[in-house]
Symmetry: C2
Subunit: 502 residues, 2 copies
């Protein structure tokens, strides 16, 4: 019985192994590999990706899918087995439209691009970076040209990270969000908060101790997790029991390391919380980066910068600061980390202005992919929009158009996830506060398990079993909405600035 | 022109990429991976190995080899292209006899076995280790059963690490070596040397600084090399510019960390010195572990424990010892690290008794593979031979039969390489001393480049282009011999013990 299904699962299990193997090579490249190892590593990753693509798009996959489908008779459409088959079919149909040479070229360009980006950013040399961008955008346009079922060309890259979502919906959500954020930021302009607590020089050794403690509160343990340093923080997992976090410490601004680590740990908790029975299936890795980002940003901002958890965090920060934060009060810390302060760097942006950094990137990506903007004109377009949305001057390309890793690795269609993730986080957060009695008291006592388990139950364990809309419908009873996030933000900022913003 | 050759090289390049990828997963497993990541990692490695095996043993490989062979007309038999084709044919013929299920099972057992060994050794629990050994020996016997062209079953596993060598030759070489070593050790019995210099408690931080300096003298640099901690030190490379060393530090015995690192760096210099044009070909990775071990042991013992280099090493050791070695003289250090002292642990054995540890393992491996000894009887057989050859009592299985990683990973046929490597190192060392004027003065001034470049010229750059015999014929004008090593040893020990041993 169910032989075809068993065979399909074994076949997809191998595909999953190969993808995880490629992820190990990438993790190593970005954390451990000596610099001159790059060219051969790019070949190794390209070969693995090509082979995986070849196998997944081979006739064998379709044959196994078609043999397994009749065995699903009588099973609910959202059963695990039915969803394994439908997800396999969906991704098969998408992948098999892309020639293997193009998939390989994209993988190779991504690997070379990352290294070129690191060097160009360090040298603040956009001219060294431009050819890499040209190549990546060209390959992305070639990729889009493999498809025809879209309203807008951007739909195709968007769908890689937010299956089923359309550019028109993103336009609507980000438009409403922007229209809510601009006046809110306006209302707060000119109001100042004492930033001394976050401007203290904080020894990096001390930061490491703080981060270690906070991550363990969240659920990090040495048997299944690692934390390493890198240039651009990321999270990767190779199984539910092999979760890799990275962060970056700045002596001059400790929130970068701390909140970067909480952010990545939020991603890690999602990967660690996937039901083990989904491992080595297409549902065991996360297809929706919006849901993924909702988890990282919920832990970073709603927990990490919330008044309750700041109560737990403040004495820990004082303890490891070697005197730099002596006498700090939780209220002052809470207010300092929630200041609204337009600035040039996305990953250092506050929770409120952050969304506008995303709107800017999303708009430029769309224009570049549709050839309405050239790479040569990109720095100026970037700087102009920074002035327009955030009212700030970009001091250098390294701190401007070259600040993010994404485009260097050919990652287009991803940026909206950060903003939509915030919106989803707003919805989940509102529901969790209703569902978990005494949540604030728990957070203030750094008891994070009840929240983590609530998220595991409603989000993590399902992996990619449900679409974003299905998952949200089950968890909160509605599709993606802007207003829960905005209401949360206005309430918090009212508290921070002691204003009535509701 | 030469299209088939170009296609064969591309195909073999992919195979090489996949093997390197699998090596990255293994390196990560042994240095970085959280403990609970093991089961899925074993699957990932098994899938990669199976796929690589399938590809390499597919009809496509033979087709490309047969198409390329006629294109070699007129090329010397030892040209790079001719050797790529002949090495591809040799390994194709060997691999294609092994069913893919067996190759997969061996890879999976190796990965599980390593973790089981770490745990069993830590718990000193041979009964937890025995099933792993049973499985690995059984799979090795199944592997041998795939072949028929041998004089002795052990020939088959030996040939994996020393292509073309026979068990009868190993018996002869190791027999002559044992017959030379036993009386030499006898002559020195009861003579004592002051061991205080190596028994000082040496802070591990200081050891790291010493090792860092010594490796840089040898050629280590951050652009292409890494050094990490592990339980059982090893070296791996993923390209000529991505060399990974590992070592293990003991506060109570610093030579373990220092000479372990020099040993692995000797391997690393070989991998780093392979001509870049051999990368991604079958000649770019080293098939002969005897030659490989000749490099590690030459650097560890002939350089590292030589009187000349001890002159450079002693002040460095004093400097980082936090007082523990104050007043140490190079002569006393030289004598202490060359003491002949039979003991139970191979990797801590002195250069002279080391060979007998290998003879013991080699004999037991042969008996286990031919079913003349059972795993249940192994600990007793081990302990009996330790008494017979080295006159020592084994205090526990953890310090006895479970001390080495090799069998846990199904690595049979490898141990002789260590002893034969010593013999080859003796031959190369004798020739290098003639070829390089002022070598001792250079070593005393830690100028290691001339020796490294001599080795690169005569050994490293060729990768696997030549058989051991061909390589030795070019470098020293003879095949593997026992006496150069014995003469070197007698001369050094005469100096150490102030006796006439020549």
């Amino acid at each position: 019985m169910a032989t075809a299904m068993v065979e399909l699962r074994a076949w997809l299990g191998e595909i999953s192994d190969l993808r995880r193997a490629s992820a190990v090579l990438q993790w190593d490249q970005n954390t451990m590999m000596p610099r001159l190892g790059a060219p051969l590593r790019a070949e190794q990753i390209a070969t693995l990706e090509r082979l995986t693509h070849e196998r997944f798009t081979s006739a064998r996959t379709l044959e196994l899918i078609e043999a397994a489908e009749p065995e699903l008779d009588g099973q609910p459409a959202d059963s695990i087995e039915a969803r394994i088959v439908s997800e396999a079919r969906r991704t098969f149909e998408k992948s098999s439209r892309v020639p293997v040479e193009l998939a390989t070229a994209r993988a190779r360009a991504a690997s070379h691009g990352y290294k070129a980006w690191v060097a160009a950013r360090e040298a603040n040399d956009f001219s060294a970076y431009a050819p890499v961008l040209e190549e990546n955008f060209k390959l992305a346009r070639d990729y889009i040209a493999c498809f025809d079922d879209y309203e807008h060309p951007y739909d195709i890259v968007l769908d890689d990270f937010a299956p089923g979502m359309r550019t028109s919906q993103v336009n609507e959500l980000l438009g409403e969000m922007r229209d809510q954020l601009l006046p809110l930021i306006e209302e707060l302009a000119g109001r100042s908060i004492d930033l001394a607590p976050v401007q203290a020089r904080y020894p990096i050794d001390g930061q490491r101790q703080v981060v270690d403690r906070v991550l363990r509160w969240m659920g990090f343990d040495d048997a299944s997790w690692r934390l390493d340093d890198t240039v651009h923080p990321f999270e990767q997992s190779f199984s539910v029991n092999d979760i890799r976090l990275t962060t970056r410490y700045l002596e001059s601004y400790f929130p970068t390391g701390l909140y970067g680590a909480m952010h990545e740990c939020g991603h890690g908790l999602f990967e660690a919380g996937v039901s083990p029975e989904l491992q080595r299936t297409p549902l065991g890795t996360i297809r929706s980066s919006s849901i993924h980002e909702s988890q990282s940003r919920l832990w970073e901002n709603m927990v990490g910068r919330g008044r309750a958890f700041c109560t737990a965090l403040t004495p820990l920060l004082v303890e490891h600061s070697r005197g730099a934060l002596d006498g700090l009060e939780a209220d002052a810390y809470f207010r300092a980390v929630n200041t609204v302060q337009p600035s040039t760097i996305r990953i250092e942006a506050d929770e409120t202005t952050y969304g506008l950094h995303i709107v800017l990137r999303y708009e430029l990506e769309c224009l570049l992919l549709t050839n309405e903007l050239t790479v040569a004109d990109l720095p100026e377009a970037w700087n102009t929009r920074m002035r327009e949305y955030l009212g700030v001057e970009v001091p250098s390309d390294a701190q401007g158009v070259m600040q993010d890793v994404h485009w260097s690795e050919g990652l287009f269609g991803y940026f909206p996830s950060y903003a939509i993730g915030n919106l989803i986080a707003g919805q989940l957060w509102a529901r969790a506060r209703t569902d978990i009695p005494g949540l604030d008291d728990q957070l203030a006592a750094h008891e994070l398990a009840p929240l983590r388990e609530w998220l595991r139950e409603h989000v993590h364990r399902h992996g990619s079993r449900y679409s974003d809309n299905e998952l949200l419908a089950q968890a909160v009873g509605e599709s993606v909405q802007v207003m829960p996030f905005i209401s949360y933000l206005r309430a918090k900022l009212g508290d921070v600035y002691q204003l009535d913003l509701a």
